[in-house]
């Protein structure tokens, strides 16, 4: 079994892909935390804790949910908005939850406006600019999510969560699989449940702004 763990970076300029270091994807009903397979329930708790600890917990919805290309996508968008509203209700003063879209995957170099969007080809710009220390990708096609997660791990200290509709992401620090409306709502419930029980990292020197 591999000793490698998927931890917040900055790891180095070109971090290895977690899969190449022996990290495996979870089976249905499971998730992984730092590369260790856990029951899904444990991952909900850990994800909620990370959100509530973060100074700038952020959701990054991707094209699969931003565009209403089918009914399911529109429903997921509603659930994401609910999760964001829940985060806003549950955080303490000084914490600033954000909801920043990844509308498509065009490199858009050098035009990226990190205040209003994130781009998979240089996600670190948005993380640095907004000092994001915990984020969740949802509705991003797997290849682009892997690319972004690796860049974030390489150049920032941001904690990454993937709510993947397929088999999950090795390169995230915490990954769910088979994302659905129900799973997003359940995560929101866990955030509510843990409200007030987690000490936010407000005074911590470590933030997503590492470079």
């Amino acid at each position: 079994m591999t000793q490698y763990r998927v931890l917040p970076g900055p790891e180095h300029f070109l971090p290895p892909s977690a899969a190449s270091m022996g990290i495996c994807l979870p089976n249905p009903g499971e998730a992984h935390i730092n590369g260790v397979i856990v029951p899904e329930e444990k991952a909900y708790e850990e994800a909620a804790k990370q959100f509530l600890m973060a100074r700038v917990p952020t959701l990054f919805p991707g094209p699969l949910v931003l565009w209403a290309w089918n009914e399911k996508a529109a429903k997921k968008a509603t659930a994401i908005r609910h999760l964001y509203n829940t985060l806003k209700e549950c955080v303490q003063p000084g914490q600033t939850p954000m909801l920043i879209p990844m509308p498509d995957y065009r490199p858009k170099y050098p035009k990226i406006n990190p205040e209003v969007e994130i781009n998979p080809n240089h996600p670190n710009l948005t993380i640095w600019h907004n000092k994001i220390d915990c984020c969740m990708f949802i509705g991003v096609h797997c290849h682009q999510a892997n690319l972004s997660l690796k860049i974030i791990r390489g150049g920032t200290s941001c904690y990454t969560i993937a709510m993947c509709a397929q088999a999950g992401h090795e390169d995230a620090m915490l990954s769910f699989r088979d994302a659905s409306v129900e799973k997003i709502m359940k995560l929101a419930e866990w955030v509510k449940k843990l409200k007030g029980t987690v000490q936010p990292r407000l005074t911590s020197a470590k933030s997503g702004a590492s470079n």
């Binding site: 919805p61 949910v65 931003l66 565009w67 209403a68 290309w69 996508a73 529109a74 997921k76 968008a77 509603t78 994401i80 908005r81 909801l99 920043i100 879209p101 509308p103 065009r106 490199p107 858009k108 170099y109 050098p110 035009k111 406006n113 209003v116 969007e117």
Partner: protein
């Protein structure tokens, strides 16, 4: 084909950057008679670009994108060169190919799209520079035409390798001295329009992009013919103002000067017999539509 397929999820609408909201609200996806006259009245399918100030390629891009008959169901294939700096800002599906590979990629893509979406019209348009089309990718360009692949090839002819500093290309005119070709071109400009005709293209046009209405006409014709009959080729003169020692404001005049009847970019057109028939059919249908609309308007009045 309609704008119905391009909708933002209601609950996340407010967080979408304004350029995407504008694309959904006022771009001309799904508009049947879209054309260059929509520029200024609607959201263009090019947000901005990183070409040099005054570059005629940027004009060409704007006219072409405004003229594609079916942008929501079109995939453009680009190649290495100045054009590849623009595609990231284009709101039409596009693929960047290896240098010169564009027509091979487009062949596979067109065939795959027709299998994957049998009931839907999917257009493929290659847009590459002269280096990719005529030098490095000539094999792929010609083979696609020989095989009668149903897509349009557009070559932005700036007569040299512009973004690497001005090396000699096959489409450079004889005797021209460029920054990285100090001896001067020893051979004639490759006559690709003639080669295209002989290689099986059903519609071949060589022109400049000084007249938007002309660009609109040839782009529409080329796409419609390639959709129904076979390969089409457009060679558009988009001079590199930096490499020929012109100022930002002089690109348009350079094109006007080069398209005079005795100059090398005088308008040249070839249409095969089947393509002529198709264009006549399309024109007749358009005429009928216009007459019906006129009649309807008269009845309403």
């Amino acid at each position: 084909m309609s704008k119905e397929r391009i909708k933002i999820s209601e609950d996340l609408y407010d967080i979408m950057p304004s350029d995407y909201q504008d694309l959904v609200k006022s771009a001309t996806y799904g508009k049947e008679d879209r054309g260059w006259k929509d520029i200024g009245n609607s959201k263009e399918l090019i947000e901005q670009h990183s070409l040099c100030a005054g570059c005629p390629e940027s004009m060409a891009f704007r006219y072409i994108l405004a003229s594609l008959p079916n942008p929501e169901d079109t995939v453009m294939v680009g190649s290495t060169g100045c054009t590849s700096l623009v595609f990231p800002m284009v709101a039409v599906h596009n693929i960047h190919s290896l240098f010169g590979n564009q027509n091979a990629i487009a062949s596979g893509l067109k065939r795959a799209l027709s299998v994957r979406f049998p009931g839907r019209t999917k257009d493929v348009v290659v847009l590459a520079g002269d280096g990719a089309t005529v030098d490095i990718g000539l094999d792929m360009t010609l083979q696609a035409w020989f095989r009668q692949e149903k897509f349009t090839t557009i070559c932005f002819d700036n007569e040299l390798y512009a973004n690497t500093g001005g090396q000699e290309s096959g489409l450079m005119q004889k005797g021209f001295v460029a920054k990285m070709a100090p001896v001067g071109k020893l051979f004639d400009k490759v006559r690709l329009p003639e080669i295209a005709r002989e290689s099986g293209c059903h519609y071949v046009v060589q022109c400049t992009v000084s007249k938007p209405s002309l660009v609109e006409k040839v782009v529409r014709n080329a796409v419609m013919i390639s959709r129904e009959i076979g390969p089409t080729y457009l060679q558009l003169y988009t001079p590199c103002i930096l490499e020929i020692g012109k100022n930002s404001m002089e690109g348009l005049q350079e094109m006007r000067d080069s398209e005079k009847p005795t100059e090398r970019f005088a308008y040249k057109e070839y249409i095969s017999e089947p393509a002529k028939e198709l264009l006549a059919e399309i024109a007749a249908k358009d005429k009928e539509k216009k007459a019906a609309a006129k009649q309807l308007a008269a009845q309403g009045a």
